[in-house]
């Protein structure tokens, strides 16, 4: 049985995911092979310049060979390599682009919108890129850096800070690095965002949430004999103490919030676990943007704002965590932003969700939002 139509869909398509992934490599020029409509939306999500063939009707009818050669020719000297991401119509037409671009160093990612969602396109891009591990490479790879993620740069900085405290250098940042480094990744990887894991190297775990953070650095110690994780463990303990202290004070005055969380499954579960552990919060539902794994919390997979509205109305949470879309249907519940898009507020600082600063930031936002709501007349 085919999936029924979606009402107010709030998650980008595969093409966007592929572009956002590849745009993280500074020496890789990314070309959206499609119309201006596809390009303009993607351009609003990705914080670095991307390019487009800006196709028009006659190029669909008579072939896009000349147009592609023109755009690729213009850009070839500016980048180490070019990536062409197919949108829906060129994908269906199926022109053999390798044939007429044989003079150029290009990779072609077939990620039309109809082939899936954001994370599906991201995965196709990684699979086409085929990163490689160099067993001799020192340092730790940072995974889960996804340019459309509002916490992308904050996560990168926080991951680098914690690794440096443990005496470790960042190796390859997936995907916020050079193409060259993608083919010389270190053997061990940590994930700043658990929903975007490349699978490159041995996974030491996620940096998101206090428990996963401890577990991740314990594993790093086991995998990397030159790591000194004690300063990081001390920092995690200190952060946890601060969270416990603030949450205990909150609980002396307020009931724990019944909470609905809407984000990628990995991120949502990390936040849910912290809220349960430190604030005794009831997680009434996790609305997962991507395919969920097993969870101790109730989980529904949805990218449909109508379904999300129904979930919020049904569960009547005190706290909603999600994107600007959930904010519009949160009603009188407190709201904390977690996933894209975040709108209606200014974000200048490089805030992380990962690491100790990320955990502190999430809990700080939750407690402040809950207090603000309680104070409203």
């Amino acid at each position: 049985m085919r999936e029924q139509g979606c009402i107010n869909p709030l998650w980008p398509c595969a093409m966007t995911g592929a572009v956002a992934c590849l745009a993280g490599f500074s020496d890789l020029g990314v070309i959206v092979h499609g119309s201006s409509g596809c390009y303009y939306y993607t351009e609003t999500l990705v914080p670095v310049p991307v390019h487009s063939t800006f196709l028009v009707e006659e190029e669909v009818i008579f072939g896009a060979e000349r147009r592609l050669q023109e755009v690729v020719g213009d850009l070839a000297s500016l980048y180490q390599k070019l990536a062409i991401v197919n949108t829906c119509v060129p994908s269906v037409i199926g022109e053999d682009m390798h044939l007429f671009l044989e003079d150029y160093d290009v990779m072609i990612v077939d990620a039309p919108g109809f082939s899936g969602h954001l994370e599906d396109g991201w995965r196709k891009a990684i699979d086409t890129l085929e990163p490689e591990v160099d067993e001799q490479r020192a340092g730790i790879n940072i995974d889960g850096l996804f340019s459309a993620d509002p916490f992308y740069s904050g996560n990168r900085m926080e991951a680098e800070r914690l690794l440096a405290m443990a005496g470790l250098a960042p190796a390859t940042r997936f995907c916020a690095d050079t193409l060259h480094k993608a083919y010389r990744a270190a053997p061990v990887t940590v994930a700043a965002n658990p929903d975007f894991r490349t699978g490159v190297g041995t996974d030491a775990g996620s940096l998101m949430g206090i428990r996963p953070l401890k577990s991740c650095f314990s594993r790093i110690a086991a995998l990397c004999t030159d790591a000194d994780i004690d300063p990081v463990m001390d920092l995690i303990d200190e952060a946890e103490e601060r969270i416990i202290h603030a949450c205990d004070r909150h609980l002396r005055r307020f009931d724990p919030p019944a909470t609905a969380i809407f984000a990628g499954f990995g991120q949502a579960e990390a936040v849910a676990t912290m809220l349960r552990d430190y604030l005794d919060a009831e997680i009434v539902v996790i609305g997962s943007r991507n395919r969920p794994g097993t969870s101790p919390f109730p989980v529904a997979e949805t990218r449909d704002l109508d379904q999300i509205t129904d979930l919020i109305v049904h569960h009547a949470p005190d706290l909603v965590i999600g994107s600007a879309y959930e904010e519009t249907v949160a009603g009188r519940a407190s709201f904390v932003p977690l996933t894209l898009p975040i709108r209606g507020r200014i974000i200048l600082a490089h805030r992380p969700l990962a690491g100790t600063e990320g955990a502190l930031g999430i809990m700080e936002s939750v407690l402040n939002a809950c207090m603000d709501t309680k104070r409203k007349p």
Binding site: R2, N8, S35, C88, V89, F114, D306
Partner: protein, 347 residues
């Protein structure tokens, strides 16, 4: 972005027909829109709508359905998905349904007209779009206005007031621009009949033909003006008022079209414009340089007219002032622009 188009084709850069069509259909509260294509197409345009509505402090979001075509639908056709989605929409008892096709449904040859043309119990209108294959934003916008026009019932008399046609619903100052036009009409004791289309219900749209004259948002909508003139016999005015003299000419044109003497209204507006000029008398003698920022037109007559009225001189050595992105509407728009100019001069 690539700036070397081949072949020369301006539509290359002008966005998608879906965005244009949705900029109309999403503003009919009791006629939900179905985007017939992959979920991503609906999301991309809904996202733009969401960002825009947040800036206009207007929430919640209109209801936009996606037929959510996947690979199997692309291979075997998406008409069944469209049928199912229309049935899903009808469960909520809308007064009408708008259907926007996408480039991929056009490519695979779905007969969207045929599906929409079946007996559904309420009007199901195919707003011809087809993504970039149907043109660009403006074609989507114009086709949507034409399509929505099929909801209009013919009237025996055109005495119901003035219709406003083709407001730019994604424009930041859309409400302020409307209020200025409504204020000017008020000087002539005229009222707005139908805003076609901005937050207008289906029953109100059906009264469109009762309007005595259609005021188009801008000249690019002249084909729509002619379309409704042929269909309902309504004259049209090609664009909102622009400039000091232009605003007074707008009053004269409306008065002529409606058989109303406009002399008093024009005199009142001229007095208001003199008040505005007096409010900015402190800028007299300042020198400004209008900056096009690469794509705007600094020779636009409005800017030199306003500068002259205030006593500003335009010269290359003057303080750089950007040409406004949106053309100020009426005297109120000019006043807001002058506040910005003062800020530039004093910053």
């Amino acid at each position: 972005m690539n700036s070397n188009p081949l072949p020369l084709n301006l539509s290359r850069y002008e966005g998608c027909t879906i965005t244009g069509a949705l900029a109309v259909s999403a503003f009919i509260p009791d006629a939900p829109t179905v985007v017939h294509g992959p979920t991503g197409c609906a999301h991309h345009n809904l996202s733009l709508l969401h960002a825009t509505l947040l800036q206009q402090d207007r929430l919640p979001l209109p209801r936009v359905y996606a037929t959510s075509l996947g690979e199997q639908d692309i291979i075997f056709g998406g008409e069944e998905a469209l049928e199912r989605t229309i049935e899903q929409v009808l469960q909520r008892k809308p007064r009408a349904v708008c259907v926007i096709s996408t480039c991929i449904t056009e490519t695979i040859g779905d007969d969207t007209d045929a599906v929409c043309g079946r007996e559904w119990g309420v009007p199901v209108i195919h707003l011809h779009s087809a993504g970039f294959l149907g043109g660009s934003f403006n074609e989507g916008f114009v086709n949507a206005l034409k399509g929505i026009g099929t909801l209009v019932s013919p009237a025996e008399a055109h005495d119901g007031g003035i219709n406003i046609v083709g407001e730019k619903n994604l424009e930041f100052e859309v409400e302020e621009n409307y209020e200025e036009v409504a204020r000017l009409l008020g000087l002539l004791d005229l009222e707005v009949n139908v805003r076609f289309v901005r937050n207008t219900r289906v029953d109100d749209i059906s009264r469109f033909s009762e309007g005595s004259i259609n005021i188009l948002r801008e000249g690019a909508l002249d084909p729509i003006g002619r379309h409704f003139h042929e269909q309902f016999g309504q004259p049209y005015l090609s664009g909102f008022p622009v400039g000091l003299q232009g605003t007074r000419a707008f009053l004269q044109a409306i008065g002529d079209a409606c058989g109303i003497k406009a002399n008093e209204a024009i005199a009142a507006e001229k007095a208001l414009q003199e008040e505005v000029a007096a409010d900015f008398a402190d800028l007299r003698g300042e020198v400004i340089n209008l900056s096009p920022f690469g794509f705007q037109c600094p020779e636009f007559f409005l800017l030199s007219e306003v500068a002259g009225a205030i006593g500003l001189r335009i010269a290359p050595e003057g303080t750089e002032i950007p040409v406004p992105f949106g053309t100020p509407v009426g005297t109120a728009g000019i006043r807001r622009m002058l506040h910005q100019w003062r800020r530039f001069l004093h910053a």
